[in-house]
């Protein structure tokens, strides 16, 4: 392999050589190279294999549309498959590996598929692999899956950082080529806030490969000067290595900045990629135009390259395409390449132009063959010859490089992301962006304009007028005369080429050739969307950037209609693929969701709590003691201790809402299904909240602190939802009510002190008399603590069924108060208990949680039928609760369940069958909603929702857990296992 690097020229830094490897082979490039240009400079032609036929493939483009040159780079958690060599900047030590080949890139067994290609046409798999039935999954599919796919992704975690950010601007300029730079400068000089984004490492776009001059400066120098001016302006953000990938509603653009993807060792404190959401008042789409390939036999052989790409490698990277180059062009742009090749002293074997008078201005030495087409290219892993057909004759020319230009397609993807359909222009032989876009204006080549001078003028004009529309005194910047510009006249349309013998590829990566599209039309899949789906044309990683327009042209020919009538498939984000990492930003691992921490977290931690994730909270689940073998032992101890002595449990995460104002009671009366108007000051009441469809939504206690001030608690799980709902009631349903709502969940540290000794312990810190008369069951009052050093709110409510209180103190004091109580209660045996013990205690008492309030139960199902006010004129859920189905006698209703043999147990989620009934859907009677081992009863106990459950106390049933193969004989009972007369509550 010899060097194809030209001795001078290009935008590479020859003082900074970079060593890299391809498939383990050491190579060298320079700073400023892309991986693709470096490979070409090293004489590397074959870089990949195609998807289906494993055909040898080389580098086709110099940009984002590259379908062939996909490689895997990086290692370990940084392994990155399917990296476009054309977009990857070279860095020292870059190790690139080819993909989709076995055993090697040069000798790939998969290439045998090419021999079978007559049988592997479009959609072949829909027609076979159906027999025998079991063979699909066992034989065919594993083989197909193994053969399919491109690169191999890692299963290791990514060590690098990602982040997101927002940005706002008057004008977003997408693409920093001539059009974009002109637009940005024209708006920015007038003071507009401008963001310019370009996917390349440096601004300039096509200017970087251009040999024309602008006001005497070379195109790259002009680009450099423009970029420098933009960088210096405080109202401009110039983002290089940044791809705007999507246009969303509200003129929001998604962009991804590859902050450190060009570095061998990313700095750990800096993200490798950054996702931008850019809010733009206006935007200019200066994304340029994509050169179209031509569809002839063997157009995929390494050595065949887009003309613009060849020009870019030549001028920007100083890489020669080959020794003998031919140019096949349907428009004048091929001649700019010819001129530049000759200027570098490189040989052009021929220029093939299908037009009658193409290249009229061409003054070079190359043989110009008009009225001619290339029908076939030859060669295996590298191009060796082409067949040229002219006037019915075919001539074979030996060449090792072939440049293609089939015309230009404006890059209008973003303009179509919000539902607009592209419009076919017969005159320009191209699809143009949808008319009258709101907020996004295509400019320059992206709007179908050709030529450097015209693009500069159009960009300047559009940038200035958008800025002017926003009130800035902007005018288009004149950039001076352009010399050596070669505006390409519209191409001759050449969808299909007569006389083709070999496979003429339309979609390179997916190996869709022109006959596949014919077949699709023939079989009834002629609609552009069906053809895409049937042939997979346009579904490769380039999303049809090179192939779609040719496919449309070919479909149009096959159907006998115009390309406009065929239409395009839908352009959707992402313009180019975006990594999961960038889209996720920092929000994964421990940052996936924010942690919500109780003010008693430290207290619980000090007492050895095992924590469990509950929504965003961490709750203390149980508090193991030395010597306890498992969680059950700890929980049993905690439960018994609450029943016998006292326990302290953190309930800070209950939702807490303060409801003030003259109509607060009225609002509560409408939000709860039970009555609240007459709740006395200083009292708490259990409240049941329904949804408008009559189902129970949430429950909790609400206390009247003052005449016009209530303190509502909700369940932990529904705290946010209930707050939203209460605000909905107050703002949307009944705005005439004077109610003021505030979430005070975080203001209060709240702790339950439960057990027969709780009063005594609490009295040690509470100044007021807690005697049963002074502070009876359901009392709820502000109290003074520690001799007036602190004030809190005390509620005599009980979830455990014991004599119990909930004490709320300002959050920052929670930790100390809990500690003080723990200390004060030590003599009386107070210990902390967690949610596991809390759960046992409440099941023993038959108190429901969201295990039972599952969104499909009515108050009646839970045994709360009598609570529902019959007299209130209105409350949420009243009307729908009357429906027949919600009052059907056979609805599942809450019931208790115990195993007949205390040695046996069952679990939540087990189903209830009639005793001895077979486990079938018809025999399903209900299910266990909650279960626990009750150390107090000495057996598993459960709550269940069972058909007619409330009428079946005492009935023997089978608790069936098919997942575990368990049948447990059990008995239904009242859903209260402890102190049914509530004596302890009132003690």
């Amino acid at each position: 392999m010899s060097s194809h690097r030209l001795p001078q020229g290009g935008l590479i830094d020859r003082s900074k050589p970079l060593a890299f490897t391809f498939d383990g082979k050491p190579m060298q490039g320079f700073q400023g190279d892309s991986l693709a240009s470096a490979l070409l400079a090293n004489g590397r032609r074959l870089v990949g294999r195609s998807f289906k036929y494993h055909r040898p493939r080389g580098i086709l483009t110099a940009g984002a549309a590259e379908p062939n040159a996909l490689v895997t780079i990086g290692s370990g958690g940084r392994t990155e498959p399917n990296t476009r060599a054309t977009m990857q900047e070279l860095y020292a030590g870059l190790a690139a590996r080819s993909q989709n080949r076995w055993p090697s890139l040069h000798f790939d067994i998969g290439a045998l598929n090419g021999l079978l290609s007559p049988f592997l046409g479009a959609g072949f798999y829909y027609k076979t692999f159906m027999w025998p039935a079991a063979f699909w999954e066992k034989v065919y599919e594993p083989f197909i899956r193994k053969a399919a796919g491109l690169g191999r992704a890692t299963h290791q975690a990514d060590p690098d950082r990602y982040e997101k950010r927002w940005a706002h601007c008057d004008l977003l300029v997408i693409g920093a080529g001539p059009t974009g730079l002109a637009a940005a400068l024209s708006a920015a000089r007038a003071g507009a806030r401008v963001i310019v984004a370009d996917e390349q490492a440096m601004a300039g776009g096509a200017l970087l490969s251009e040999t024309a001059t602008i006001a005497g400066r070379t195109a790259p120098a002009f680009a450099r000067d423009c970029a420098a001016e933009l960088e210096a302006l405080p109202n401009v953000t110039l983002l290089t290595r940044t791809t705007v990938f999507g246009w969303y509603d509200g003129n929001v653009f998604g962009a991804v900045e590859r902050v450190q993807k060009h570095l061998a060792e990313p700095a750990p404190s800096v993200p490798v990629e950054r996702l931008w959401r850019i809010v733009a008042k206006g935007a200019i789409l200066a994304s340029g135009a994509e050169e179209r390939p031509l569809v002839f036999g063997g157009n995929d052989i390494p050595g065949v390259m887009m003309a613009g790409a060849m020009r870019s490698y030549l001028n920007r990277h100083a890489v020669a395409p080959g020794r003998a180059t031919a140019i096949f062009t349907t428009n004048d742009s091929g001649y700019a390449l010819a001129r530049d090749l000759e200027a570098k002293g490189l040989d052009i074997t021929a220029i093939i132009d299908p037009r009658e008078s193409g290249g009229a201005d061409y003054a070079g030495k190359a043989r110009l063959i008009r009225n001619a087409v290339v029908t076939d290219a030859h060669g295996g892993r590298s191009l060796s010859a082409i067949d040229i057909r002219t006037g019915g004759r075919t001539e074979r020319l030996a060449v090792d490089a072939l440049a293609l230009s089939g015309g230009f397609s404006p890059v209008i993807h973003l303009a179509c992301h919000r539902g607009g359909r592209p419009v076919w222009s017969g005159e320009k032989a191209a699809f143009l962006s949808p008319a009258s876009l709101d907020g996004l204006a295509p400019a320059g080549a992206a709007s179908g304009i050709a030529g450097l001078a015209a693009c500069l003028a159009d960009g300047a004009h559009k940038g200035a007028s958008l800025a002017a529309a926003l009130g800035f005194a902007a005018s288009p910047i004149p950039f001076g005369p352009v010399e050596g510009d070669a505006p390409a006249a519209p191409a001759k349309v050449l969808w299909s080429i007569p006389g083709v013998r070999g496979k003429a590829f339309v979609d390179f990566q997916n190996d869709v050739h022109h006959r596949d599209l014919d077949l699709a039309v023939k079989e009834g899949y002629g609609h552009v969307e069906l053809a895409k789906r049937y042939t997979t044309s346009g579904m490769a990683t380039d999303q049809g950037k090179l192939s779609n327009i040719n496919a449309i042209g070919l479909l149009a020919e096959a159907r006998g209609v115009s390309p406009g009538e065929v239409g395009t498939t839908t352009f959707r984000p992402f313009y180019t693929p975006v990594s999961f990492g960038a889209l996720a930003g920092a929000y994964h691992g421990e940052h996936f969701q924010p942690v919500r921490r109780s003010p008693l977290h430290g207290w619980a931690e000090r007492h050895g709590a095992v924590f469990v994730e509950t929504g965003l909270w961490y709750r203390s689940a149980w508090f193991p003691r030395t010597g306890e073998k498992d969680w059950r032992e700890s929980v049993d101890r905690e439960v018994l201790n609450v029943r016998n002595n006292a326990g302290l449990c953190d309930v800070s995460m209950l939702g807490k809402i303060e409801i003030c104002g003259p109509d607060a009671a009225e609002l509560l009366n409408r939000a709860y299904c039970n009555a609240f108007l007459k709740l006395p000051v200083g009292k708490a009441r259990y409240g049941l909240m329904l949804r408008e469809d009559g189902m129970v939504y949430d429950d909790g206690t609400t206390s009247r602190i003052e005449e016009n001030r209530f303190f509502m608690t909700t369940t932990t799980a529904y705290a946010a939802g209930v707050m939203n709902h209460m605000e909905f009631c107050a703002q949307a349903l009944w705005p005439e009510l004077d109610v003021r709502l505030a979430s005070v969940t975080d203001q209060w540290a709240q702790m339950a002190i439960a057990g027969p000794k709780s009063r005594k312990i609490l009295q040690a810190i509470v100044d007021e008399d807690l005697g049963n008369d002074a502070f009876p069951y359901l009392a709820a009052r502000e109290v003074s603590l520690f001799g007036g050093r602190l004030h809190g709110r005390l509620f005599r409510i009980s979830f455990s069924g014991e004599l119990a209180y909930e004490l709320a103190v300002p959050a920052a004091y929670g930790d100390r108060v809990a500690e003080a109580l723990t200390e004060a209660g030590q003599a009386d045996g107070l210990v902390p208990y967690g949610v596991e013990a809390l759960s046992v205690l409440r099941i023993e008492k038959g108190h429901v949680t969201h295990n039972e309030i599952n969104g499909t139960v009515t108050p009646g199902d839970l045994g709360f039928g009598k609570m529902v006010s019959a007299s209130k004129p209105d409350f949420i859920g009243k009307a729908m609760l009357q429906r027949e189905g919600l009052n059907a006698p056979d609805r599942p209703r809450l019931v208790g369940v115990v195993p007949l043999d205390p040695g046996q147990s069952f679990r939540s989620g087990a189903h209830i069958l009639a005793k001895g009934a077979a486990p079938t859907l018809e025999n399903d009677q209900g299910y266990v909603t909650s279960s626990a081992f009750s150390p107090h009863i000495g057996s598993t106990i459960g709550l269940a929702l069972v058909r007619h459950g409330d009428e079946r106390h005492g009935e023997d049933v089978t608790v069936w857990n098919g997942l575990r193969g368990e049948f447990t004989a059990a008995r239904l009972c009242a859903p209260v296992f402890f102190d049914p007369a509530n004596e302890k509550l009132h003690a």
Binding site: Y248, D249, G250, N251, V252, R277, V279, R418, G419, E692, D693, A720, N724, E727, F728, Q731, A732, L733, P735, P873, D874, K878, A879, M880, Q882
Partner: protein, 89 residues
């Protein structure tokens, strides 16, 4: 729109700051016919085109808004506080 909802109190804000409830319909009178209640709770016009929806600016001003939006273009025609004046029909 939905990428940016023009909150009348906070200015344009992204979707993730909001909770969406659904059709902004007037709640029937307590004495209304069951059929009217059923219609309110369960039936939806669900049009292609202009639609009024309740959005709650949960992570902003915490006001319930009535967002009038086109269900095809996502353009927001109006966005007002739900308490401002009655309900959108």
């Amino acid at each position: 729109m939905a990428s940016l909802v023009p909150c009348p109190h906070c200015g344009p804000r992204p979707k993730e700051e909001f909770t969406i409830k659904g059709a902004a319909l007037p709640r029937p009178a307590p004495t209304a016919d069951p059929a009217e209640w059923f219609d309110y709770v369960y039936l939806r016009d669900n049009p292609r085109g202009s639609y009024a929806e309740y959005w709650h600016h949960t992570a902003g001003c915490r006001r319930w808004l009535v967002v009038s939006r086109d269900t095809i273009t996502h353009q927001v025609a109006a966005c007002r506080d739900a308490a401002a004046q009655g309900h959108a029909a």
